[in-house]
Amino acid sequence: MSLEFSRNVTFGQYIDIRSAVHNLDPRTKMICAAVIMACAFMTRGLISIAPLFALAIIVQLATRIPIGYTLRGYRLLFRTMLFFVPFQVLFYQAIPGVEMHYYWRWWILSVSYEGILGGIFTLSRVIVLYHSINTLMFTTTMMDLSDGAEIMMDPLKKLKFPVNEFVMTMTIALKFVPLLITELERLMRAQIARGVRFDQGSVIARTRKLVPVLIPLFVNALSRAEILIVAMNARCYRGGEGRTKRRTMHATARDVIAGVIVLLFGGLGAYIGRTMGI
């Protein structure tokens, strides 16, 4: 079992380089990511996902983030897909009216041309979805992300929803993820040094191995929380009421262009998926 979480888990990291995507308004990026995700769920087959896949490649190039770094974050994802995709191919259900080309068939299991295409489609949709969220995190600082989220959730304030508090909670959660991953890694190394094998044994045995990792993880995380509580109280944090921002956000022509590009590609994919079902 590899223990290089902090190397392989890229979720929620910000990559500090200059690029066209980094310079966009955070609100634009969030809306674009949401549009891409919505369009991806309207795709029905390989042809409709193609424009979105192309868009993902364009965005990837525009961010100037090394492709190797991006792919590293997919490693854990691919491990799950390695199980999920073959499963989907084997249990592929024939669509009425479509002729199936079987390579192999037994009982309800089959390997067909259509099934394999379906598997590839699922995989590429997962990549598109994952890529949009990842790119948003890679190219936006935590401050921008939370400020942007706060502005976009502004209408909820009318419903007495504590927007600032909720966004602050989310920001703290994302900030703590890399920290806790390092901590988890250290705790697991300590256990491995004592001869524990995390990847072996029955359900109960595995859980018993996890407990000496989980308890210190929670205890340490909560004691870090105590420190942060003191720090925030000392700085008189009191929620969003009457709070002003030092930096204000302005959308520019760049944001419009980015939005149009995303809408074009996403809309094309969603349109093909909706109308032709391919």
């Binding site: 979480f5 888990v9 979720f11 929620g12 995700m37 769920f41 854990l76 994802l77 491990r79 799950t80 897909m81 199980f83 999920f84 949709r125 997962v126 979805l129 994952y130 969220i133 007495k160 929803f161 504590p162 508090e165 909720f166 602050m168 909670t169 989310m170 920001t171 703290i172 959660a173 994302l174 900030k175 703590f176 993820v177 806790l180 991953i181 988890l184 250290r186 300590a190 359900v203 595995r206 859980t207 996890l210 407990v211 989980l214 308890i215 210190p216 929670f218 205890v219 340490n220 995380a221 909560l222 004691s223 870090r224 929380a225 942060l228 509580i229 925030m232 109280n233 944090y237 929620g239």
Partner: protein, 183 residues
């Protein structure tokens, strides 16, 4: 609704643990059934409710729900009624279970909160999936072994972690014992 600094920070940190369990795949314990794994990702939600009250439970549940919605790879959890709403209620049900039993044995109350919280999660998520026609009702029996494992895991882990945290907080063991590097 007024949320104080303590609730914000503790909810943030517990949500981070839920996300970490998700991204490292450590929160998924292999079970031989259709979905292939039982999850312990909802346990930080239950612990938030048990240790700090329902508001923290609901906040952690909301972030856990949003996380499962945005990182969904199967297309089943894109609907917030499936992914977010049930997770909000985990905090509420487990808190009231814990509170109503906490007069007696703390361990029993925490275990009960773990069981009730897990059942809330499983029943409401599966219920919503079936209600929206995302999975057929016939698939429910295949989820039973996974649900049972999740209930048992939640009961055990909730008790142990809640007791561990309370022990450290009570000061009977000094904070220095748990500082970095002295596990």
């Amino acid at each position: 609704m007024k949320i104080n600094v303590r609730q914000i920070v503790v909810a943030g940190v517990l949500s981070a643990i839920a996300i970490v369990l998700g991204v490292t795949q450590l929160g998924f314990i292999p079970v031989p059934n259709l979905s292939g794994s039982a999850t312990i990702m909802h346990i930080p939600v239950i612990l938030g409710a048990v240790l700090e009250g329902p508001i923290v439970g609901v906040l952690v549940g909301a972030i856990f729900g949003i996380y499962s919605m945005v990182t969904d790879t199967t297309g089943l959890f894109t609907n917030p009624i499936v992914s977010v709403l049930p997770r909000l209620l985990i905090g509420v049900t487990s808190y009231y279970t814990y509170k109503s039993l906490s007069g007696g044995n703390g361990a029993v109350a925490a275990a009960a909160a773990g069981v009730v919280g897990t059942l809330t999660n499983t029943i409401l998520v599966v219920g919503a999936l079936v209600a929206f026609g995302l999975i057929p009702a016939a698939a429910i029996p295949t989820i039973v072994p996974q649900a049972l494992v999740e209930v048992v895991l939640a009961a055990i882990i909730t008790v142990l972690v809640a007791q561990g945290v309370n022990l450290v907080r009570s000061g009977r063991t000094t904070a220095a014992d748990t500082k970095d590097g002295n596990y």
